[in-house]
């Protein structure tokens, strides 16, 4: 009995809402139908239970790396001249390494920079080894 009552109530509500809706032109009605078809056509997205972290590919820039090395060297009070030399050599080598790879992530670049810069300055290498590991 409740189901019948619900069904009739729903029909009445639909009828009222249809009356209350403003009348659409032909074009608007067709647009509405097309939208409704599109929504129906889209497959239902099933949310995965686990979220996978996708590593973000980074556009490598030699100039950006040079600036970064100079900035880190400034923190360690290394002279501009020396820092400039480190930046030039290391960024060149890292650029050569990156050119052999299709994609690289920022942590990959940091590890490679640390490896190259360790030959010249251990403190600077320490900074790159510990990026994102302070807290």
């Amino acid at each position: 009995m409740f189901r019948k009552k619900k069904a009739t109530a729903n029909k009445k509500a639909k009828a009222i809402s249809k009356k209350a809706e403003p009348k659409l032109t032909k074009a608007e009605a067709e647009l509405k139908k097309a939208k409704a078809k599109k929504i129906k056509a889209e497959p239902k997205k099933i949310l995965a239970k686990t979220k996978r972290r996708k590593p973000q590919a980074v556009k490598f820039s030699e100039e950006a790396l040079k600036r970064d090395i100079l900035k880190e060297a400034k923190v360690l009070k290394i002279s501009n001249e020396t820092a400039g030399k480190y930046a030039k050599i290391v960024s060149g080598r890292v650029a050569a390494w990156v050119s052999k790879r299709a994609t690289v992530t920022q942590p990959d670049i940091d590890v490679q920079v640390a490896k190259e810069i360790k030959k010249y300055n251990k403190d600077l290498a320490f900074i790159y080894e510990n990026k994102g590991k302070i807290i």
Binding site: K71, E72, K74, V75, L76, K77, D123, F126, I127, N130, G132, K133, I134, I135
Partner: protein, 231 residues
């Protein structure tokens, strides 16, 4: 028992000082700022960071003391203090077990997203207001470990006369920001960010043990003087 209350506040302040999130975030701020700003600006940002950190503790402690005074009409009862003892022991075990992540770094228990957020905020801090709010953020993020210290200290503050209450609140705040002040003095004297981070890495185990033991001693003290002593 004024002496036991004073000791509880002092010990809680020292334990708060051994926690590392505030120090780590300040180090990040130094690292980001020294590379792009002049020294004077870095000093201003660091000062505001320390003030932000102190401000939140300075506001939280009297507020909690007020609520304890209103709810319990004085100090907390033995039942609540027993719960506090249990929580302190659990925090001691937590500090020993997972305060630091595994590996050769000073990465903390924080979820990676929060750590990255704090890191990114430290990188882009440009104004005094941002530095102040970063200090408050770091203090707030440490709340899972500091909330019980503040509750226990506030409970002791309630038992003290008014002049001592104000004094001990300030003593607690100063103790909690003491590592930040020491770090600031160290950098001013010429220590680099790398030297300080290496020091933190070398003494990671020691700091973890001291923190855990501190929580444990505080729990035992509360149990002996406030729970069993009150009975």
């Amino acid at each position: 028992m004024a002496n036991s209350d004073l000791f509880i506040i002092l010990l809680a302040g020292i334990i708060h000082a051994t926690l590392q999130l505030g120090v780590g975030t300040l180090l990040l701020l130094y690292h980001a700022s020294l590379g792009k700003h002049v020294r004077r600006k870095t000093r201003e940002l660091v000062t505001n960071y320390i003030l932000g950190n102190a401000f939140l503790t300075l506001v939280a402690l009297p507020a909690v003391a007020f609520f304890i005074g209103v709810i319990f009409q004085g100090q907390m009862n033995a039942g609540m203090l027993t719960i506090a003892v249990g929580v302190l022991v659990a925090l001691a075990i937590s500090v020993w077990a997972f305060y630091y992540r595994f590996g050769k770094s000073t990465e903390l228990w924080l979820p990676k997203s929060i750590a990255k957020f704090i890191n990114s905020r430290a990188q882009i801090t440009e104004s005094k207001t941002e530095a102040f709010s970063l200090g408050m953020l770091a203090c707030f993020a440490e709340a899972p470990f500091t909330f019980m210290l503040i509750i226990v200290s506030a409970n002791s503050v309630v038992a003290l006369p008014l002049e001592l209450q104000i004094l001990m609140i300030f003593v607690y705040v100063i103790l909690s920001i003491l590592p930040l002040l020491i770090l600031r003095v160290a950098v001013r004297k010429g220590e680099t960010v790398v030297d300080i981070q290496k020091w933190r890495l070398r003494n990671k185990k020691f700091l973890r043990i001291v923190s855990g033991i501190g929580f444990f001693i505080l729990a035992l003290f509360l149990l002996a003087f406030k729970v069993i002593g009150a009975i």
